[in-house]
């Protein structure tokens, strides 16, 4: 059994306050124990991931809290190598006999498979660039503080004659990774999020923010924004499907372009399931589109090392519309004769790697400028249930949600019923007319990235729904 989270005085957490994470040296002790046991059990090499999380989330609907949860957990994931074979076993039981048992399971799985011709020796000690994404105020936010903030948000919605639903969450997590060749990496971060949907009759709108620092957003301001847009969304009218100029707020951009991230994996190209096969180094997107992967960007989150412990490198993926580079795990790099970029998933896996910290180049167009420059178009708050229809042309389908507004002659003139879209991302990124400043965006379909708002012409809406 793992020790419970303890406060500085050593007592167990017993209130609605957030649990504290173990000290890094205690996680290192687990790593050392596993490596010692693995060596004595016959593993030629061993790798240990220890991940600890303490999260809390308050959920509200109908202007009241209806769910309120906290979790604390720690897992130890062990990969062993024997005779050119590898396998993984994971447990959340950390007594020595349980760890030994997990090592034995890992070894047993490894022994009973064919040799892996691509398996490389584990990497040795690495150097990491420091990142600081642990904010004490975020970790300390209590259930009472979340509840009071939710109460204020709900009171505002009630005052407007609206109904609010959403979440307010905070948490902290840490990961350490060590292996039998002396590699050791450690990372901890905090995370917080507020999301709200305001409903006025059948109309609704939405606002959301997410940050390592809970002070980076104001739940009341987000609530006010959602309430204002929900009121604007009342009396939506049905428009004919077709191609429209759209102004996509950052959350809408994120949830679409988020589906591109895996296409930049070298293994995806090797497997011929990437839309970039036979398209590298060609003018694929508009010249105003540049995309990087950069875990060190100040608006990004995440560990500065990958699943094998290699330092993540910033990579320029698309330069002025031309796909220039891919990301490589160690195995993919070996196969391609390239250098690994520090984007590999924990082994063993069949997917290789992916850029997890996408940063789109932005522009200087404000949302107001995008609206005032539009003769006729649609302002999109958010997209929903996006799925891939055609993996090579990257045709995506999905719905608009929580605030679709008609723009006519440079101003918002009313709300429109929600549309289904079927749109090629490749075509879309050829038709971006204006870009806003890149911001940390958060939606529900893709993990958080740094993307701008976009004004795009000829976006394809294929059908309309009933609200």
């Amino acid at each position: 059994m793992k020790p419970a989270a303890k406060n500085k005085k050593g007592s167990t957490a017993s209130s609605a306050g957030a649990a504290e994470l173990l000290h890094e040296r205690e996680l290192r002790r687990i790593v050392d124990t596993v490596l010692r046991l693995a060596k004595s059990t016959g593993a030629e090499e061993a790798e240990v991931h220890v991940d600890e999380v303490a999260d809390a989330l308050t959920r509200f609907a109908n202007n009241a809290i209806h769910q309120n949860v906290a979790e604390h957990g720690l897992t130890v994931s062990i990969r062993t190598v024997v005779d050119g074979r590898t396998a993984r076993a994971t447990t959340n039981r950390i007594q020595e006999d349980s760890l030994r048992s997990a090592i034995e399971v890992s070894l047993s799985l490894a022994h009973r498979q064919p040799k892996d011709p691509r398996l490389l020796p584990m990497p040795g000690k690495q150097s990491y660039r420091a990142v600081n994404r642990f904010i004490k105020q975020t970790a300390a936010l209590s259930a009472e503080e979340r509840a009071r903030a939710v109460r204020r948000a709900c009171d505002l919605a009630v005052k407007k004659g609206q109904v609010a639903a959403g979440i307010y969450s905070n948490g902290q997590s840490q990961s350490v990774l060590g292996n039998s060749r002396g590699l050791f990496a450690a990372y901890r971060e905090t995370h917080s999020e507020f999301s709200i949907t305001a409903q006025e009759g059948p109309a609704a709108s939405w606002a959301k923010a997410n940050s390592a620092d809970v002070r980076a957003f104001d739940p009341q301001k987000l609530t006010a924004r959602a309430c204002q847009k929900a009121h604007l969304a009342v009396n939506s009218r049905e428009l004919a499907p077709g191609r429209y100029t759209v102004i996509l707020e950052p959350a809408a951009v994120l949830d679409l372009v988020g589906f591109l991230f895996y296409d930049f994996a070298a293994t995806a190209l090797e497997d011929k399931r990437s839309c970039l096969n036979e398209r590298m180094a060609k003018q694929l997107f508009g010249q105003n589109i540049s995309i990087s992967d950069d875990v060190y960007h100040p608006l990004q989150q995440g560990a500065p090392f990958d699943g094998e412990g290699l330092p993540r490198q910033p990579v320029l993926l698309v330069d002025c519309g031309i796909p220039k580079n891919l990301v490589y795990s160690r195995a993919a790099a070996q196969a391609a004769g390239k250098r690994p970029t520090g984007h590999g998933f924990a082994l063993p896996n069949e997917y290789g790697e992916a850029p997890m910290n996408l940063v789109f180049g932005g522009g200087d167009s404000s949302m107001d400028k995008m609206v005032t420059s539009t003769g006729r178009g649609l302002l999109v708050t958010r997209l929903w249930y996006i799925r891939e229809v055609d993996p090579y042309e990257k045709v995506m389908t999905g719905m608009t949600r929580d605030g679709l507004f008609l723009v006519e002659n440079g101003r918002v003139t009313g709300a429109a019923r929600n549309f289904r879209f079927n749109q090629s991302l490749i075509e879309m990124l050829k038709k971006v007319e204006l870009l806003g400043p890149a911001v940390r965006a958060t939606g529900e379909e893709a993990f958080e990235m740094v993307v701008p708002a976009m004004k795009v012409r000829d976006f394809c809406f294929s059908e309309v729904t009933k609200f």
Partner: protein, 486 residues
């Protein structure tokens, strides 16, 4: 485990809880995959912990821990009560639970072969052999196979006196062949997309699938799809294969009947539902031949939504959802049952793991078999398109407007399958679509399909649901919309 649960419930009561329930869960999982003839993932995982849900000051709190000592459990229970008291700072009324009896019971899901006792070499050999069969086909550029096995053991205890032990064995298996040629990626999967078939069975599920016979068939289809015609865009007759119909049920019937969605509790994330409370027993959801149930009982089959008790301690039940085409029932829990005039929960509270709160979930939401022989259905179709094996799915946040595409289509002319079609898709409005159903195949074509990846809730939970379906026919459907104007 009962001592831990009692300790948690006692602590919660001492701290002021008026109700509590505890789930201790032990989850074990084995994952195997291959890709292009090599082992991909080979992993085992286990997780043991406790979650406690309490009512205090009329509001809910939940906390979980994997520190299963007296001190750790007591701290977790105390935290849950503190959280509930915080919830009460923003409540609009007290939670009221429908009455339920206390049960003391133990249940084991049936299986013939424990998948964890089957030698790994046997499992890998089968996957690698199927993988090799697919790679023999010219034009196939990527082959993938997978098996997944789970054991979920749970000990449920509540302050009304229930003590319920359940042990489930779950298996899943599938294969897929992908072909990249020219400007196109085509894929075929067996027996279903996205990981194959999953059910509450042992290794006998894998042995029933006949991977070796089907591997070359799907590989040949994946390669052949490049050279066939595009599915046309039109309004016409559609026949759905069983697995695709299972997902259609999941999205356009299963989710909208979740009472938490209907009541707005998922408005910020999963969405709401077009099935407002005034529709119950009035809405003509479907044509009169359509009968749908939510059935968690073993009598219905060994599905991913089969259990003896839900995670709120309510026995498994069968609820009519659509009866002779009329909307007849929701999925409810003890908190919401009274809001639709029920005196008891329909038993649909389920949790992914010990560290997640139980929420309303589909069980086995199934279309009951009809009367048609499959060959007769094809023969009876003058002009239509048969679509099989899901490729993409999307539906709006009130569950009205949907669009699906499948891996393969077949044109039917004069009662015969005349040619293969690529990139098939269809779309519609849920009630209009189900009202257009004019034929459902009979029980010998009916399969209880498993959807292992249903996401819902915040924090997100992934749970398996079951959907019994036989091929069925629908008239006047929008076909080919996904690729129009591309």
């Amino acid at each position: 485990m009962w001592d831990l649960s009692t300790n948690a419930l006692d602590t919660a009561k001492l701290r002021g809880a008026t109700y509590g329930d505890v789930r201790v869960m032990h989850l074990r999982q084995r994952d195997l995959t291959t890709k292009n003839g090599q082992v991909g993932t080979l992993a085992h995982s286990e997780s043991l912990g406790l979650g406690i849900r309490v009512l205090a000051n009329g509001a809910w709190g939940f906390a979980s821990t994997d520190r299963l000592t007296r001190e750790g459990v007591a701290a977790c229970a105390a935290q849950a009560v503190s959280i509930a008291k915080a919830s009460a700072l923003a409540k609009r009324g007290d939670v009221v639970l429908a009455p339920e009896k206390a049960y003391v019971d133990s249940w084991q899901s049936p299986f013939r072969k424990d998948p964890f006792e089957i030698p790994l070499e046997t499992q890998l050999a089968l996957l690698l052999a199927a993988d090799a069969e697919m790679r023999l086909v010219k034009g196939v550029t990527l082959t993938e196979t997978d098996m997944q096995f789970r054991k979920v053991e749970s000990w449920f205890a509540s302050s009304i006196g229930s003590r319920i032990h359940q042990h489930k064995v779950i298996s899943g298996c599938g294969i897929a062949a992908t072909s990249f040629q020219g400007q196109e990626i085509q894929k075929r999967s067996y027996p279903n997309g996205f990981g194959g078939q999953h059910s509450l069975q042992g290794y006998e599920l894998v042995e029933s699938l006949d991977l070796m016979r089907n591997a070359p068939l799907i590989a040949e289809e994946a390669a052949a799809l490049h050279s066939v015609s595009q599915c046309p865009e039109k309004v016409g007759t559609l026949i759905l294969g069983g697995s695709q119909l299972g997902l259609q049920i999941h999205e356009s019937i299963g989710h909208p009947i979740e009472l938490d969605r209907v009541l707005g509790q998922e408005a910020n994330f999963a969405g709401t539902s077009f099935l407002t409370l005034d529709q119950l027993n009035h809405l003509k959801y479907a044509s009169s031949i359509v009968n749908v149930v939510a059935d968690a009982r073993l009598d219905h089959g060994q599905g991913l939504g089969t259990f003896a008790y839900d995670d709120e301690g309510v026995p498994a039940q069968c609820t009519d959802i659509i009866k002779d085409g009329i909307f007849s029932g929701y999925l409810s829990n003890r908190e919401t049952a009274h809001l639709v005039g029920l005196d008891r929960s329909s038993g649909t509270m389920r949790t992914e793991s010990w560290n997640r709160l139980p929420i309303i979930r589909m069980t086995n939401v199934s279309l009951l078999p009809g009367t048609w022989n499959y060959d007769d259905l094809i023969s009876d179709t003058h002009d239509g398109i048969l679509m099989e094996t899901n490729r993409s799915w999307s539906i709006d946040d009130r569950r009205y407007q949907f669009q699906f595409s499948t891996e393969i289509g077949w044109e039917i002319k004069g009662g015969k399958k005349v040619r293969m079609l690529k990139n098939p898709s269809y779309s519609g409005i849920s009630t209009e679509f189900w009202n257009s159903c004019d034929a459902i195949c009979r029980f010998d074509h009916w399969t209880l399909w498993g959807t292992p990846n249903c996401g819902k809730g915040q924090p997100m939970q992934t749970t398996g649901t079951g959907h019994g379906a036989a091929p069925a026919r629908f008239r006047n459907v929008h076909i080919g919309t996904a690729f129009s104007n591309q």
